[in-house]
Symmetry: C2
Subunit: 394 residues, 2 copies
C-alpha cells in the first residue's frame, strides 16, 4: 500500500474557462503568511478588514457579511438553507444549469419551488417573475446574476422592484459577477447574495463571500426550526464573525482569509468602475475577434456577461479535440458546455486576472490556427485584427 | 464607505493551542503553485495522488476517501448527513464538547440520539456503549477519538467489536488524532472517519479528509431520501473524485489540495510510527515539566491524547491574563477551556509541526516565569529540567 510521490508540479496555464481563473501572484504570496490562532487579536483584525473590504465590493452596508468556509456552492447552500424552512414557497429563475441547482437545494431544504424558466442563453423575463410571484406568494425569489453555464447577464432592476413590492426576499447568485460587474446589493435592494473567491475576484477557490440584509437576518432569527446545516448556520457564524465575544464555531482557514484579504485589496486598488470597464472592453474585443473567425456568440447582445462568453461550436468541429489542442499546444484552458450545452458550446472566461488584452489576442490566434488546421477557410490574423479595432476605439 | 488597508501582517507565533497548529513551510510554499483547471489532467493526477496519500495516513483501502471542501466541522457534517435519515437511531458518545456537537448535527439530520455520557476528562466506557447499542439498536455509533475539548484519547478496539457485532456502522471523529496517533480504519473496522488538514497533519485549515467503508457507501446508496446537503452529498462528490468521467460538482480549492498533498508527503516522509512516537515523547516531557511546576493534567494516565494536554488552571491564577502574557511576551498561543472547562482548563497542543522538544521547553519556561511572577514559589528551571529527563530517557 505504501506509495510516495514527488513534489507536485503544475504547468503554467492561461485559464480562460468558467473558473478557476488565474490567481493574482500577490494573492498566492499572501497565502505563505504563517498561521494565526482564530481568536488572536491580529487575526480578528484581519477578519474585520476582510469583511469591510467585502462590503465595498458587494456595495452594501449589511452587517451580516462574511466569507463562508467553502466554495461558491457552499455559499449557495448557506444562502438558501438559512432562510428556507419546510413548506416555504420559493420562486426560482431557471435559464441554465445553476438555476436548476438552486431549485435542487431549495427542495433539499423542504421548500416548494415555482420555476420561472427561460431558454438556455436567454434572460428571465421580468413579467414572468411577476406572474410567478403573484401565484406562488413566495418567501424568497432566487435569480442568477451571471449564469456560468450560458454567459447570460440577467437584468435585475425590474425584478427587484417586483420582488420588493410582493414583500418577498430577493436572492441573487453573484458567483460569476462579483468583481467583474456591479452587483450593488443596497442600491438594487438585494437581500441575499453570495459569490466565490475565484473568478472575478482573482483569488483561489475556497471561500464563499455572502451577505444578508437586515430583513434576511430577521427571517433567519424568526425561524421555527433549526437550520438543517450546523456548518453553515448563520446564527452561529454571526457569533464568531461579529459578536462582542468571538464564539468558537469552526476553525476558519487562515490561508484562505489571507488570500481573500489580498485579492479584495487588489480589486479595490484597481477601482470597481475601472475593473468593470476592463471586463466589458475585453469581452467586446473577444466577441469581435471570434465573430471575425466565424465563431458565433450564443447570447444576444445586451444580455452578455462580459466575464464569460459562450460560443457555438461550429459544425464539424470536434469539441474535445480542439480543447485538448489548446491545452497541449498553447497551455490555454477554455471551458466545454455544461448540461444541455455539452458538446455544443465553448465557454471562454475573461475573469479577474485572466481578463487582459494579451489573453484575448492569444486565445483568438490559437483558435484561428486550430480552426484553419481543421479546414476552416480563414484569413490569417482576422481575429486579432478585429479585436484590435475594438481596443483602438476604446 | 471607502476604506483601504495595508498588506496584512502576522506576527510570528508558536501555536500550542487546540488548533490551528503551525503549518510546515513546505506546505505554505506549495500553496503558491498557480491554479489548474479542475478537469485538467495534471490536476486530476494531483487529486489521485492526494487520495492515495490520505489512504495511507488513514490506514485504509476505502475507495471513497477524499478531502471535503470545508474545515473539520464540514467533515463531521458530511460524515453524518450522508448516512443519517429522519428517524434513524444513532448512539453518540459524549464526554466533551465535540460529542455534543455530533449529537446536535444528528438531530438536525432528523436522527434520534441515544447519548452515552461520561464526565469531561474521562473516556467512554465500552460497557456503556454495549448497553446503549442493545437498547437503541442504532444504525450508527459515533465516538470521538481524541476529544479536543478535554484531551482524552478514547480506546476504540472494544467499542469497535461491540458495534460490529450489532451490525451498526462505526464512526470516529479523527480531527485531532489523524497524523498524531494511529487511526487504522481498516484494522479497527471503522466505517466512517473524518479529520481536518491542520492539527497533526501540519497544513492550514480548510479541507476535511473523510473516508467511508464499502458498508457505509452501501448505506448511502440505499437511502430513501436525498442527502439534505447538496454541497456535502457524497454520491455527487464520488462522481468527481473517482468517477470514470469526472463530473463537475463544485470547483475544489486548488491551493488547499496543493497544501494537503504536500503536508501528507511530509507526514509519510517522517514515517507514521516515528511521528506517533514523536507526539508521545513530547507530550510525556510536557506533562513531566508541567507537573514539576505545579500544573496538574486533567486526564488520567493511559487516556491522554498526546497531541493535546489539558491542565487544571491553579487557584488564584487569572486564565485570560496568563494567556495574554504568553502571546504578548513570548508569541506563544495556548488554548483556554471550551464549554464547561472555560476558565478552568488550559489546553496545550503539541500537534504536527508544533510538537517539538524546542516548543516543550519554551512553553514550560514561559509558564514557569509567569506563574512565579503571579506569586507561585517555584525553583527556577524546574519544568525544563523535568522535561529534559524524559528526553534523556527516550
Amino acid at each position: 500500500m505504501t506509495q510516495s510521490y514527488d513534489e507536485l508540479k503544475a504547468s503554467p496555464r492561461v485559464l480562460l474557462g468558467p473558473g478557476p481563473s488565474d490567481a493574482n501572484p500577490r494573492v498566492l504570496k499572501a497565502m505563505t503568511t504563517p498561521m494565526l490562532g482564530y481568536l488572536d487579536g491580529e487575526f480578528i483584525q484581519i477578519l474585520d478588514e476582510t469583511v469591510n473590504l467585502l462590503r465595498q465590493v458587494f456595495g452594501t452596508g449589511n452587517k451580516l457579511t462574511l466569507p463562508v468556509s467553502g466554495t461558491g456552492t457552499a455559499g449557495m447552500e448557506a444562502a438558501l438553507c438559512n432562510v428556507i424552512e419546510p413548506g416555504d414557497s420559493v420562486v426560482v429563475g431557471i435559464n441554465g444549469y445553476f438555476g436548476g441547482r438552486i431549485a435542487d437545494i431549495v427542495q433539499r431544504c423542504g421548500g416548494a419551488v415555482t420555476a420561472v424558466e427561460a431558454p438556455w442563453g436567454s434572460a428571465i423575463p421580468a413579467e414572468d417573475v411577476a406572474d410567478a410571484v403573484k401565484s406562488a406568494n413566495p418567501k424568497l425569489v432566487a435569480i442568477i446574476h451571471a449564469e456560468t453555464s450560458t454567459g447570460v447577464l440577467q437584468p435585475l432592476d425590474d425584478i427587484s422592484k417586483i420582488v420588493k413590492d410582493s414583500g418577498a426576499l430577493f436572492l441573487t447568485d453573484c458567483v460569476t459577477s462579483l468583481g467583474g460587474q456591479p452587483v450593488d446589493l443596497d442600491r438594487r435592494g438585494i437581500d441575499i447574495a453570495y459569490s466565490g473567491t475565484q473568478k472575478c475576484l482573482g483569488g483561489p477557490p475556497g471561500l464563499a463571500p455572502i451577505s444578508f440584509s437586515d430583513r434576511a437576518v430577521e427571517a433567519i432569527h424568526n425561524r421555527a426550526s433549526k437550520v438543517q446545516s450546523f456548518y453553515l448556520d448563520m446564527t452561529l457564524l454571526e457569533a464568531y464573525w461579529s459578536g462582542e465575544v468571538r464564539n468558537y464555531h469552526h476553525t476558519v482557514s487562515m490561508s484562505m482569509i489571507y488570500a481573500l484579504h489580498e485579492s479584495l485589496r487588489v480589486v479595490l486598488e484597481e477601482g470597481l468602475q475601472d475593473r468593470y470597464k476592463r471586463h466589458e472592453r475585453n469581452a467586446a474585443a473577444l466577441i469581435a475577434g471570434a465573430t471575425a473567425i466565424g465563431l458565433k456568440p450564443i447570447v444576444q447582445e445586451g444580455y452578455r456577461a462580459p466575464m464569460l462568453t459562450t460560443i457555438n461550436i461550429p459544425d464539424g468541429i470536434d469539441d474535445v479535440d480542439i480543447r485538448n489542442r489548446l491545452i497541449e499546444d498553447f497551455g490555454i484552458e477554455i471551458g466545454g458546455g455544461l448540461g444541455i450545452f455539452k458538446g455544443k458550446a465553448w465557454r471562454i472566461g475573461l475573469m479577474g486576472e485572466s481578463s487582459t488584452q494579451r489573453n484575448v489576442l492569444l486565445v483568438l490566434s490559437a483558435l484561428e490556427k486550430l480552426l484553419a488546421e481543421a479546414g476552416h477557410d480563414l484569413e490569417a490574423g482576422a481575429g486579432a485584427r478585429a479585436a484590435s479595432e475594438v481596443y483602438a476605439q476604446a
